[in-house]
């Protein structure tokens, strides 16, 4: 029963090494292996969701060593929630890249790096050890730096360099925090750290470590004072990579790691929650304001990511069970519609060779399928009623009002209107109106690219159903982990003994 946990790490690694090994022999090894393995991972993560539903929490001891000495992998409601999203997006993106990546040289390097990045994300999600989280974080980041520069245009290199410097700085802050925490508690296991901290007084040191973690993971999640790298990196990367980076990468490296450490290990105090809330509001508003002025489609989506991540962090900062549920639901929704929109942008670029709004127009006649998909995606992200995006934003706003932050709830509502405004701008300039001279020869995209967009749109349209009592347990069990706070340690140790 526990045996499938390490496969989420070793399988993508195996795929990455095999692709590199077979690259000299076969031309299609990259596409074939990566699609097969990501599909297998998707199936097994669905299987894991069902198992965790039965057993609540699953712990795997690597090498059979008991946790404080050895490393343990932990799968609880929150982990499998993230794991399913990450592997779903990875599979769909891989299907999309079969045709999209044909314009690039040396595709096997792309597939190999992508699988390494996936390993990093899966590892962060499953790891129950602080230092292992750091190592997987570096794996994902280094693969990410190389993937952003995959097109090796001058802008790509510049964006990648900026990202590499900022990202390494963030990792080093995290490592420094881990060092301080290790010296204080003399253990690295998350649950064990939580035990030791419960017995020791919470002094100034924990505050300093919190600041370091907040800066490090905040940089990875692109919260507003630390957001400068995101628009460049996410707009310059090839579209499948942007979809992964924006859809799941910043959430795994930033939000998941941040909330796991703060909620389950260090324990949240009122001060930390207040900082979360302020960072969330700032990201929300500034991201949306900057997005309106953009002319490049992918840059607009990248700023929009900052704004939507702000919603999630704001909801976590409210700290009530309802708010956390809303935040996780918004995380789910954003992980679905942002990859969808980036894949749409990729399709537009694939057909017209252009992604500047002033050079596009009237694409609805040439790309009817992409147009319809992006319309649904834009409606969901800007909170039009029947879609998932509306419900998650509504829950967050209701939770804010319940907690007495009426002003902030109003700001969140107004930001949603701003979001509507810039997605209207995107729709009008790209798909409606008179057809531009440059897009006369545009053709509809191939079937494999349509397939990914279709699946994402379907999930996006029916996401609202997740709130129904029958399907709610998936979301609820993830929220319960965060709400239960430092009871995480009892759950993990109860499972070990």
């Amino acid at each position: 029963m526990k045996i499938i946990l390490p496969y989420f790490i070793t399988f993508p690694l195996l795929a990455a090494f095999l692709i590199a090994l077979l690259s000299r022999k076969s031309k299609i090894a990259g596409e074939l292996i990566s699609n097969l393995f990501t599909f297998g991972l998707l199936i097994s993560s669905w299987d894991l969701v069902k198992r965790v539903y039965l057993y609540k929490i699953i712990v795997y001891k690597i090498g059979g060593w008991l946790p404080p000495a050895g490393i343990s992998l932990v799968a609880d409601g929150f982990s499998v929630f993230m794991l399913l999203i990450v592997n779903l997006i990875a599979f769909l993106v891989m299907v999309y890249s079969i045709r999209y990546m044909q314009r690039y040289t040396d595709k096997w390097k792309f597939y190999s790096l992508f699988m390494l990045m996936l390993t990093g994300m899966n590892g962060i999600i499953l790891s129950g050890d602080l230092f292992t989280i750091y190592v997987f974080l570096e794996l994902a980041s280094i693969a990410g730096y190389a993937l952003v520069a995959f097109g090796i245009e001058p802008q790509d290199l510049e964006a990648s360099f900026k990202y590499a410097i900022m990202g390494s700085l963030a990792s080093i802050f995290i490592l420094l925090g881990i060092g301080l925490l290790y010296s204080y508690t003399s253990t690295l296991n998350l649950a064990d750290i939580s035990w030791v901290l419960a017995e020791k007084p919470q002094g100034f040191l924990i505050g300093f470590v919190s600041v370091l973690f907040l800066a490090g993971f905040g940089l990875k999640a692109a919260l507003v004072p630390f957001h400068a790298w995101l628009p460049d990196a996410h707009s310059c990367a090839p579209s499948p990579v942007s979809a992964t980076l924006s859809g799941v990468f910043i959430k795994t490296l930033g939000i998941y790691a941040l909330s796991r450490i703060f909620f389950n290990v260090l324990g949240v105090s009122g001060k930390v929650l207040f900082v979360f809330m302020i960072l969330g509001i700032l990201s929300m508003v500034i991201g949306a304001l900057l997005a309106i002025a953009q002319n490049d489609i992918k840059r607009m989506f990248a700023y929009s990511s900052i704004s939507q991540v702000g919603y999630i962090i704001f909801a976590f900062g409210l700290g009530t069970p309802l708010a956390i549920l809303g935040g996780l639901f918004h995380l789910f929704n954003h992980a679905i519609f942002k990859p969808l929109l980036f894949l749409n942008a990729g399709s537009i670029e694939y057909s017209t060779g252009n992604r500047r709004l002033d050079k596009l127009g009237g694409l609805n006649s040439k790309l009817p399928f992409t147009g319809a998909m992006s319309l649904l995606g834009s409606m969901s992200i800007s909170g039009i009623p029947p879609f998932g995006g509306f419900w998650s934003k509504l829950i967050i706003i209701i939770a804010a009002i319940q907690s007495g932050y009426i002003g902030m709830a109003a700001v969140a509502g107004l930001t949603s209107i701003l979001t509507l405004a810039y997605y209207l701008k995107f729709q009008t300039f790209a798909f409606l109106g008179k057809i531009d001279e440059g897009c006369k020869e545009a053709k509809e995209v191939p079937l494999s690219m349509k397939f990914s967009m279709l699946i994402l749109t379907a999930v996006c349209v029916f996401a609202g159903l997740m709130l129904l009592p029958e399907f709610r347990s998936f979301l609820q069990s993830a929220a319960d982990v965060l709400v239960s706070g430092t009871a995480y340690k009892e759950a993990v140790f109860g499972m070990i003994q």
């Binding site: 690694l13 690039y104 100034f204």
Partner: protein, 173 residues
Amino acid sequence: MELHILLLFMIIASLVAVEAKDLISSVIALSAVGLGLCLSFLILKAPNLAITQLVVEILCVIILIRATINNDLPVVKDGRWLFNTISTFLFIGCFLMLAYFALKELPLFGNPTMRVSSEYISGGLKKTGSTNLVTAIALNFRSLDALTEAAILFAAIIGVLSITRRTGKTHEE
């Protein structure tokens, strides 16, 4: 005491590396910092790390010198130079002050708590058979870290290869 002298030497060498006017000197000053680090690992009873640090240092310096040879270093100052420098110093000052108060709460230097590590020391040889405890921990107790470390190196190899490709796309738009 010798550690204090070594650390002061490293700080001075790193200041030289930061402020040197041409790149070759600053790379060489960096290698001096690395050598100081290697010596302090030896004094701190970490011979494993001293060897690794020494060879990695050699490789880094070779790569950096190959990269910087025949290249110029422009010294530019713009209008906001003073403002930026002052704000950076303020930030670093705040950071150091906070760090000073935080470091006071750590166990004193030379007295680690060793809650988990005592387990490795008492049972490590019997359980893993490795005389070198650092290797035992890195490759047996925490072998997932070693696997990820290998994956990171692999990612760096593929990453460098993909960045150094001649052309990125097969045909130009």
